[in-house]
């Protein structure tokens, strides 16, 4: 492809158009190049290729560069091609789109057919070699081109025009996307309405619907992301998916939980699991729903919700109440502790440390000292020293 030069596409004096063909793609050797959709013109002197979308993009190669040509038949999904073998580029060649190429041949791919005629004509020109006898002079205009008299601008203006066309292309893509999106949403709305009517029928028939059907309905809702009209939950909790997920989690979290003293906050779990998965991540709702099923599935973990709303996963074997006893010891040793200090001592997250101290307080083992300096816990002397 380095034998091509930029050109205005206008024929020169003495140069005649022989044949032209739309829908031609160029290859540099075996590799596709960005010139993928253009009009290929054969003249007495040159092969010219002009981009169908951007008429200012026009390249040409003198026929004198051609060594020989051969046909390449079409295949399944492949267009018919003409392979053009070339002499090396001359040193005084005009600038073109490629500075160098590792191939000494190019291919012309005829996506809209026409290669048989083109090959015939090209062979003729190669035989007659009319470019040797008809010297090319100043340029004249070819009336075949409807945009007569256009001046192709190189440089800044040309680049700007190309960018403008690209921008229009992108805009067109986006508006097309919005259109498609609207149509899609219409269909989605139909699904929502259908699910509502089904939910109503379920309510009316109360018990006429089997459990199997209920489960299926919930999974349909889950796929569409529709809120369950009966229970108002968006997650259709209790689906097969969540049951499987719960079992998976039990497997994945066993070791991390043991490493962290048997308890982890749900956000920690969320990050841990999703970081490990890398792809096909869990939504927060998926996680919560799966965890809600842990206990009923008799798995070795359970979900626990503290008064503050903080949610944690603990090992069944973990007993927070027992941990409170040891927390009391720790606090007594130090006289008093804040959640931060306790967390550092024990090696827990501040969030869980605070929950443990609050639980201890709830059970009556600790008293709080709530001041501007922070929340500090003391052993409950009222209880022990009465």
């Amino acid at each position: 492809m380095d034998r091509f030069s930029w050109t205005s596409g206008l024929l020169e004096l003495g140069e005649t158009l022989v044949v032209q063909q739309r829908g031609v793609r160029l290859y540099d050797g075996e590799e596709k190049v960005k010139f993928d959709s253009g009009v290929l013109l054969l003249s007495t002197h040159r092969l010219i290729w002009r981009d169908q979308k951007n008429h200012e993009c026009c390249i040409a190669i003198p026929l004198s560069q051609v060594v020989f040509i051969e046909e390449q038949a079409a295949g399944i999904g492949k267009s018919a091609k003409i392979v053009v073998h070339l002499h090396p580029a001359s040193s005084n060649k005009e600038p073109g789109p490629f500075q160098s190429s590792k191939y000494s041949y190019i291919k012309l791919s005829f996506k809209e057919h026409g290669q048989i005629e083109f090959y015939r004509r090209l062979s003729e020109e190669m035989t007659q070699r009319r470019w040797e006898t008809m010297p090319a002079g100043q340029t004249i205009q070819v009336n075949k081109d409807p945009q007569v008299g256009r001046i192709r601008a190189v440089g800044i203006v040309g680049i700007e025009r190309k960018l403008e066309e690209k921008r229009k292309e992108t805009d067109k893509n986006i508006s097309e996307a919005f259109e498609d999106l609207s149509k899609l949403m219409e269909k989605a709305k139909e699904m929502v309405d259908l699910s509502k009517s089904i939910a109503n029928k379920i309510k009316e028939k109360q018990g006429d619907i089997t459990e199997d059907e209920t489960i299926r309905f919930k999974s349909y809702l889950l796929s569409m992301g529709i809120a369950n009209p009966v229970t108002r939950e968006t997650y259709g909790s209790g689906t097969q998916y969540h049951m499987q997920l719960a079992k998976q989690l039990a497997g994945i979290l066993q070791t991390p939980l043991e490493e962290r003293g048997g308890i982890m906050s749900l956000t920690e779990v969320y990050c841990l699991v999703n970081r490990a998965r890398g792809l096909e991540l869990l939504s927060p709702e998926d996680l919560v729903n799966a965890c809600k099923m842990l206990e009923s599935l008799k798995l070795p973990l359970r979900l626990r919700i503290f008064d503050s709303g903080v949610m944690v996963i603990e090992l069944q074997s973990h007993n927070e109440e027992e941990m409170v006893a040891s927390a009391l010891e720790t606090v007594s040793e130090k006289g008093s502790l804040t959640a931060d200090e306790f967390a550092k001592l024990v090696g827990m997250s501040v969030l869980l440390a605070k929950e443990r101290l609050l639980l201890a307080e709830k059970m009556g083992h600790l008293c709080r000292d709530d001041s501007v300096e922070g929340l500090r816990f003391y052993p409950n002397l009222f209880l022990t020293q009465s």
């Binding site: 919005f178 259908l194 089904i198 809120a227 969030l351 501007v372």
Partner: protein
Amino acid sequence: LLQMSKQLDMFKTNLEEFASKHKQEIRKNPKFRVQFQDMCATIGVDPLASGKGFWSEMLGVGDFYYELGVQIIEVCLALKHRNGGLITLEELHQQVLKGRGKFAQDVSQDDLLRAIKKLKVLGNGFGIIPVGGTYLIQSVPAELNMDHTVVLQLAEKKGYVTVSEIRTSLKWETERAKQVLEHLLKEGMAWLDTQAAGEPQYWLPALFTELYSQEITPEEAKEAIP
């Protein structure tokens, strides 16, 4: 129910078609994502409800937001010791972008808000508080009621607030103002400056970078002080 199953399959095909044409668009174009989310909300569909939903599986929207959720949690955790669990949306945005690196997809503030709304269900106290023209993101289970929120909004302008300012602007009694400020202090969301001229000032570290957006290292700090 059979009808639903059939229609569901049809819809799935439609969605697949849509995805094959426009999946890239969703990943790369924040504005398109907003459009998409708004339209879903209008018709009553939550594309982020489950990773197993069609939307997530075929358009990949799920992974984008769930991963963002992880990054948001990590940023908030890292900065909690400094701002008590309150951070402006801007700073969160900056930090998340930094963490994602140069080659990651573009993430907009709208994207962050949507991811945060989903995180609320994890019970860790994620909340979104409107202040000034923007939002403060809460990431700890501290109770912040209307009074606290209003004071935060007042503090947004200068990064700090005083008891007198609260009395004048909000027409509260001193006691009420003090209670709110003390709560913020306790939660680590406000810092007390007793050396300020006039009366003590309650500063909000969450708002620091908005006003004084230079992060310097301890070495630079040492050099700066004569």
